[in-house]
Symmetry: C2
Subunit: 186 residues, 2 copies
Amino acid sequence: MSGGRPHAVSRELIAEAACELFLEQGYERTTVAHIARRVGVSRSSFFNYFESKSEVFWSGLDERIGFLDAFLAAACPSSQPAAVVTDAVREAFSRFAPDALALALVNSDAMGIVPELTQEMATRQWRIAAAISPYLRRTGQDALAAEVHAAAYAGAVIAALRAWALAGAGRERLDDLLRRALGMLR
Amino acid sequence: MSGGRPHAVSRELIAEAACELFLEQGYERTTVAHIARRVGVSRSSFFNYFESKSEVFWSGLDERIGFLDAFLAAACPSSQPAAVVTDAVREAFSRFAPDALALALVNSDAMGIVPELTQEMATRQWRIAAAISPYLRRTGQDALAAEVHAAAYAGAVIAALRAWALAGAGRERLDDLLRRALGMLR
DNA sequence: GCGTATTGTTGGACTCCGTCTAACAATACG
DNA sequence: CGTATTGTTAGACGGAGTCCAACAATACGC
């Protein structure tokens, strides 16, 4: 049952090589073919492990967002939605470990990815809001209120994440920053 | 001084044809070549008028965001930053007229652009926040607070915009929705 | 009218991304 | 030793976006 050809590489290996190249020569100038060649694998194989070039940065965070989404989808409507959301967010993101994304945030200039980074970062912020908003709706808020509040929470998460990455990505600190950022909402 | 070959088309003409095609056969299945052919112009010319295929939807909103950015960059730090930001936002976006974007928001399913739309929408929300955040910083808020609050304002703007488009894009209503959405922040 | 500068248009070549597929290679297992 | 399974590979493909040199249509000075 567990037969089959063994893996020649891993997501981690590819991500590592990709980050090296991004640092050396920038994101735009690094093609998927370059990355594959450095790991000693074919361009096709890159796409067996990552859906796109940019996904290299985002798998870790996306996984945490998926967790938040599932968590809140399963949560019961509470009379104190703010507390539930705050706890859910801290539960989801305090587990976030330094990875390619932290590297990218710190070296965005060297990598020449400021535009890509904001674009992708904005998308994740949106998805965090999209995970929170339905829960708020279930607590009785109308659509507009739910979206506005969810956007505020999502903004807090991303702001904390950026501050954490830029400060050096220590573990406890992220939870502190999350508490501070979330505390600013009400 | 005003010599030169006359324009064969305009942004408006191209946008109109593009929207028709998007509605007829979806966004993905519509190539830039299709759009150009329908307007009776070459593919190269499309890129003389728009930087990318997706920009067709976004020029109107981007222009308003540019206004907001310039407005707040020139605003003096006030002791009531909330009022300044609220006024600036309403000034900038109550002038926003129904256009390709409103059409896209309403027909996002028919056009098959849900993923693109969220991605681009998220980017605009980010840019609105990026316009607001520096002003808040200048009023004395620290970086984290400025980013969180700016994200909340930006979320309110986008939520209002979506609600307005989905409701049919009448003019006065947008300002009403903006007032309601912004009113939810404190 | 006639050249000329200006501005817009065009086709084509190019790079890269992302998709797809059919063939091939390396393993486990019967 | 054959076979199923799984991973790898080359190659073709279509579309986005860039670039550029050639071409077309206008206004203007003469």
